[in-house]
């Protein structure tokens, strides 16, 4: 278990290649990176620098070609597919650029799905827990609306509530505000920050937006699959 302030996620020499033979391209070229518990970090870099790939590898959605991932003290290379799914479900939360809510379900149900998937059953208390999370992101009034009827900002707030459904240690957010207008983006970013402060959840937020990155504790920059800068930041 990670101690407060200790590493909750550690990457050691992560490489990731795509393609075979001639067409082989190295997207990540040896990334070493640690995230401390309760940290709120921004990952920046130009398009094609490998940000999303790195995020997917950290999120156990993709496997590195080389290197080691330690998540909450567990070497994830030792887990099989089902083990990875379980571990991912219980320790990680995701927020994507497009909210990726399931359109067949209401806001409330979308938040419940990770809980139900984890237990293998849909249980009544999950409803209350999901409602509390929606309340948290300020959307309890829209709990029973279909995901498709929500505005972009609302949907992204539901997605944040969903990422918190199983009390993760780390939330990975891939341009969570990239698709929102400035006002909504500020609101969503503020919400992430608030959750981080109140619950000591570690956040790694991929963003293109220097202005938003300046509001985090740490700015990591990736260029051509390598970390080129990793600076603590004093949020304004």
């Amino acid at each position: 278990m990670a101690e407060p302030g200790g590493d909750v996620l550690r990457l050691e020499g992560i490489t990731r290649d795509f393609g075979e033979g001639e067409a082989r391209t190295q997207v990540l070229r040896g990334v070493d990176l640690s995230l401390r518990r309760g940290e709120f970090a921004a990952l920046m870099g130009p398009s094609g620098s490998g940000k999303s790939t790195l995020l997917h590898i950290m999120g156990l959605l993709d496997k590195p070609t080389g290197g080691r991932i330690l998540l909450d003290g567990q070497d994830t290379g030792l887990l099989d597919d089902d083990g990875l799914t379980r571990y991912r479900g219980s320790t990680l939360g995701f927020v994507f650029q497009f909210h990726h809510l399931l359109p067949e379900f209401t806001a409330l149900e979308n938040v419940m799905i990770p809980m139900a998937a984890g237990k293998g059953r849909v249980e009544a208390p999950m409803r209350d827990a999901a409602r509390a999370l929606l309340d948290r992101v300020g959307l309890s009034a829209r709990a029973d609306n279909r995901a498709t009827t929500l505005s972009g900002g609302q949907a992204q707030r539901v997605a944040i509530a969903r990422s918190l459904a199983r009390s993760p240690k780390v939330v990975l957010a891939d341009e969570p505000t990239g698709n929102l207008d400035t006002q909504s983006a500020d609101g969503v970013f503020a919400l992430l920050r608030q959750v981080n402060r109140e619950e000591q959840v570690t956040f790694l937020v991929v963003t293109h937006d220097r202005r938003l990155a300046e509001r985090t504790d740490r700015i990591i920059e990736l260029v051509d699959g390598r970390l080129v800068s990793d600076q603590p930041n004093q949020p304004r």
Partner: protein, 403 residues
């Protein structure tokens, strides 16, 4: 509720057009299954029942006598003449009758003494088959009582029961007298106690029932019987039981199946073609379910990726789609059973014989519904196998990024 059910039911409910499409296909498939099976089995049952209305399931007779040349080199035989067919009694028939009654699967057995005779009244003479019977045990083997058109099915003293055709040929009714005589010249006067209609013109024109004792006297087989007629519990078991009876008693025993081979061949080829049609229908339904679910998996790729990213295991994803197939099969079998039953009943109602009897009796049994539902659910699940495996194999990172 289990997680997989929650997702699968919602996917089916929300995917309205797709669900309607596969459900419609499955419903039609099950309806065809129900309709065709009900019709064919009803038709076959009625054909068999018709055939067996005047026929015992197994006929036991004395073994055929085979002439053999006497051995010895000094008297070589040029040829062997067949023994003339004369009425022969079954030896120790009471013992044989009792022994047949103990064979499992045999419901009833009755002794009869049968032979050729003439029935005459005034100037009218008809050639008939004289059948000496014990009415009570006979009625247990051949269901003749409900088929009596006039009088009653009982024989006392010198009473006789004739068929409708013979009664009209001779112009006789219940209470009238007829003379029955054998070609050898033995004869007696009988009073008609009843007239039957066994649904077979030949039988109605030729059969004359008389008391066993009277027939034994007329046919000159005192105390003897020529056949023992047997009813079995399971009609398609008749052949096996006939062999069993023959083996135990050293007699000749023919099942109705042997005596009606052409009918049986007809029934078998009818069943075979019906099975073929049903197999093709099931295949078409399976392909329909597989293709629609396949499209749905492609459309939902990104959602499946999200489900996996949020802790849904590969096995769960697979079960969600298998469950969709099974649920479509289950719902389709309920709807199809309704449609198929309505079709079958309507069809039976349309085609009626002049008597008002349905020409095409349909056989809608619980077993049929159960069978069709099993086929539909298994087909749905198997058809979903390929799309489900495809969904389970999706890599979340790829589908989230590229869709």
């Amino acid at each position: 509720m289990r997680f997989e059910w929650f997702i699968a039911i919602r996917y089916l409910r929300e995917g309205k057009a797709q669900t309607a499409l596969v459900l419609g296909g499955t419903t039609v498939g099950v309806a065809v299954l129900i309709f065709l099976t009900a019709l064919i089995s009803g038709l076959q049952r009625s054909l068999v029942a018709q055939t067996l209305s005047a026929q015992a399931h197994v006929l036991v007779k004395a073994p055929e006598r085979v002439a053999r040349p006497l051995p010895g080199p000094d008297r070589p035989a040029d040829h062997v003449e067949k023994v003339p067919d004369r009425i022969r009694s079954i030896e120790q028939w009471q013992r044989v009758l009792a022994s047949i009654g103990t064979i499992p699967g045999v419901l009833a057995a009755t002794p009869t003494a049968a032979g050729a005779a003439f029935a005459s009244r005034g100037p009218a003479t008809k050639s008939v088959t004289l059948r000496g019977i014990e009415p009570e045990s006979f009625a247990r083997v051949i269901d003749v009582v409900p088929k009596m058109k006039a009088g009653r099915f009982s024989l006392e003293g010198t009473e006789a029961i004739v068929g409708t055709v013979l009664a009209s040929d001779l112009g006789v009714g219940v209470g009238d007298k007829v003379r029955l005589a054998t070609p050898e010249g033995r004869g007696d006067i009988f009073t008609i106690s009843g007239i039957f209609d066994l649904g077979n013109k030949e039988v109605n024109a030729r059969w004359v029932f008389v008391p066993l004792r009277s027939a034994q006297t007329l046919l000159d087989v005192p105390g003897g019987v020529t056949t023992i007629e047997v009813k079995v519990a399971e009609i398609f078991d008749a052949e096996r039981l006939a062999r069993e009876i023959a083996r135990r008693n050293g007699l000749s025993a023919d099942s109705w199946m042997e005596l009606n081979q052409q009918l049986l061949v007809g029934l078998r080829s009818q069943s075979a073609s019906s099975w073929m049609i049903q197999a093709l229908v099931v295949l078409a339904v399976a392909l329909g379910i597989a293709s629609v679910l396949g499209v749905s998996v492609i459309q939902k790729s990104r959602e499946i990726g999200i489900l996996k990213a949020t802790g849904t295991s590969t096995g769960m994803v697979q079960r969600i789609f298998l469950l969709e197939g099974a649920l479509v099969g289950a719902a389709g079998s309920v709807l199809g059973a309704g449609v198929g039953s309505v079709m079958a009943i309507a069809f039976a109602g349309l085609a009626r014989a002049p008597t008002g009897e349905p020409l095409f009796p349909v056989d809608l049994t619980p077993g049929l519904y159960l069978g069709a539902a099993t086929v539909a659910i298994v087909t749905g699940t198997l058809a979903a196998w390929f799309p489900a495996s495809r969904a389970a194999r999706l890599e979340p990172a790829e589908v989230i990024r590229y869709g």
